[in-house]
């Protein structure tokens, strides 16, 4: 029997997603023990899990180090990996938003300065409306940028919006809805077709996954 290698995003979302895999019949008792191992196997279910940085999941899957994985739609839109997107898991829901200070008014006669961790998403969004922007790529604490006058607005993930509100910012526009997606390497999908297809079906059949939702 062939193994299916699964890359899960480290952190809260990953824990939740693992529970979904468990429910779908791909439990791995070793993963639930507290230890420092990096790779967890369950030979009976034929699955091998490993935790990677959320933004790296798509890279592991695209390059075939993992056959399948779970990545946020934000990562898929930003890095555009060449993978199959087999199911919307309906967890890790949030929105990609433009946010700015409460009193911010867009002056269309000037170049808009946009601070973000997601330059491609920001560029695509503004170029679709022909808005000239200056992208400021940051790696964290994006909310700080408009407060210090580094940028006019930010493009970032908004879950509840409380971080924004505490800092005197507010979401202005929603760019796209985000949720966790079950992705597969294109070649693995062909050579391990039965296993991966069954996994996608089992995951999509769970109550938490939504069928409608976003693109």
């Amino acid at each position: 029997m062939e193994w299916v290698n699964i890359a899960l995003p480290k952190g809260r979302l990953g824990e939740k997603v693992y529970q979904m895999f468990k429910q779908a019949g791909y439990a791995c008792p070793a993963i639930e023990e507290e230890n420092r191992k990096l790779v967890f196997e369950n030979p009976e279910a034929g699955v091998r899990y490993f935790w990677v940085k959320p933004s790296d999941v798509a890279i592991y899957v695209e390059r075939g180090a993992a056959d399948v994985g779970v990545a946020g739609k934000d990562i898929l839109l930003e890095y555009v990996p060449d993978v199959y997107e087999l199911a919307d898991l309906g967890v890790g829901k949030c929105r990609m938003c433009v946010a700015g200070k409460k009193d911010f008014r867009d002056d269309r006669s000037r170049t808009l300065r946009v601070a973000t961790k997601f330059p491609r998403i920001a560029r695509n969004y503004y170029s679709a409306v022909s808005r000239d922007i200056d992208i400021i790529k940051l790696n964290g604490s994006i909310e700080l940028a408009p407060l210090l006058g580094l940028s006019d607005v930010i493009v970032d993930i908004v879950e509840t919006g409380s971080t924004l509100i505490e800092n005197g910012l507010e979401p202005k526009e929603t760019i796209v809805d985000i949720s966790a997606r079950f992705i597969s390497n294109k070649v693995s999908y062909k050579f391990k077709n039965d296993a991966i297809r069954r996994m996608a079906q089992c995951l999509a059949g769970l109550p938490e996954t939504n069928q409608g939702g976003s693109v």
Binding site: G64, E85, V187, K190, Q211
Partner: protein, 364 residues
Amino acid sequence: MKTGLRLKKEEVVLRLRELYRRYGYLPYKMSKFEEYDLYVRNKSFLVSDNILTFTDIDGKLMALKPDVTLSILKNSRQEAGLQKVYYNENVYRTSPGAHGYREILQAGLECIGDLDGYAVGEVVMLAARSLELISPDYLLDLSHLGFVTGLLEPLKLEEEQQRSLLEAVGQKNTAALEVLAARYTLPEQTRDVLCRLALLYAPPEEALPQLEQMVCTEEMAAALDELRQLCGLMEQYGLDDRLRLDFSVADDTRYYSGVVFRGFLPGLAAGVLSGGRYDHMVHKMGRPGGAIGFAVYLDLLEGYFAVPKGYDVDVLLLYDEGVSPARVAAAANAVLASGKTVRVERQIPPELQYRELRTLKERG
């Protein structure tokens, strides 16, 4: 990874050449660069937007070729019969994720002219045989753009909408298809067919009856007939058991126009062969007929080639300062005569792996 006998890269190139030659394809050697103008005029047919340019001595802007097909098509003559050529060339492209240009070695063939069912079948057969030569565990995915455009064309969608739908099919993303279908108010039947098409992945005998049920326009029926005929030919060649029908490979309607196929090998994360029918390009060049071809990306095959031996030479021959050159030469010849490789040195090179050490000392 299951692999049979592994070949060296040069052997793979040689065997591919031999395969194409046996079917009467002629070698095609081209210049490393072309006038930039050719590529700009045909930009929509290029895989990557970036072209490596330089200025020739007469001030003309030249480009290192990013693509072989355009050059072949430009230089091919319009005459009776088909033009069948094969090539083995480097192309220069940027690849997504890689920063900067890369030199990529491609082997492939093109068949240009008034194509019929046999000609198309022959090219697809040669694609399958090319893969078989590298690993018997290959898979060849086959699809037909006419089947997808035949479904979408009557709906008169905007280009952007059609592109989004094809992209979702290409990702097998049925969740996105549902959302897009609702957004563009597609008929229920179209939505269902798109979703089933996206998820289809099966050998011909299983897939063809499924496709049969999806046909709703004449163009789709014609595409299916062509596929059925092609699968029949592949069965006759004995190559049908590695064939899969998969419409996620048919997402580029600007370049391809009919049969499209991709080849995969176990253990490699990306497709190693890509091809299809590209009549649009032929028509853009103002010529009748069509063209079909494929390329094998040899640079991706590194992992498939024979692993070099664990050492660089059989014998490391060390000699002292005082040993005469004639004696060294004689000793080296003796090693070579026994069928071993030899490296002659006065000191042991730190990185060199050798199986046996022999020393020549000045006779005291």
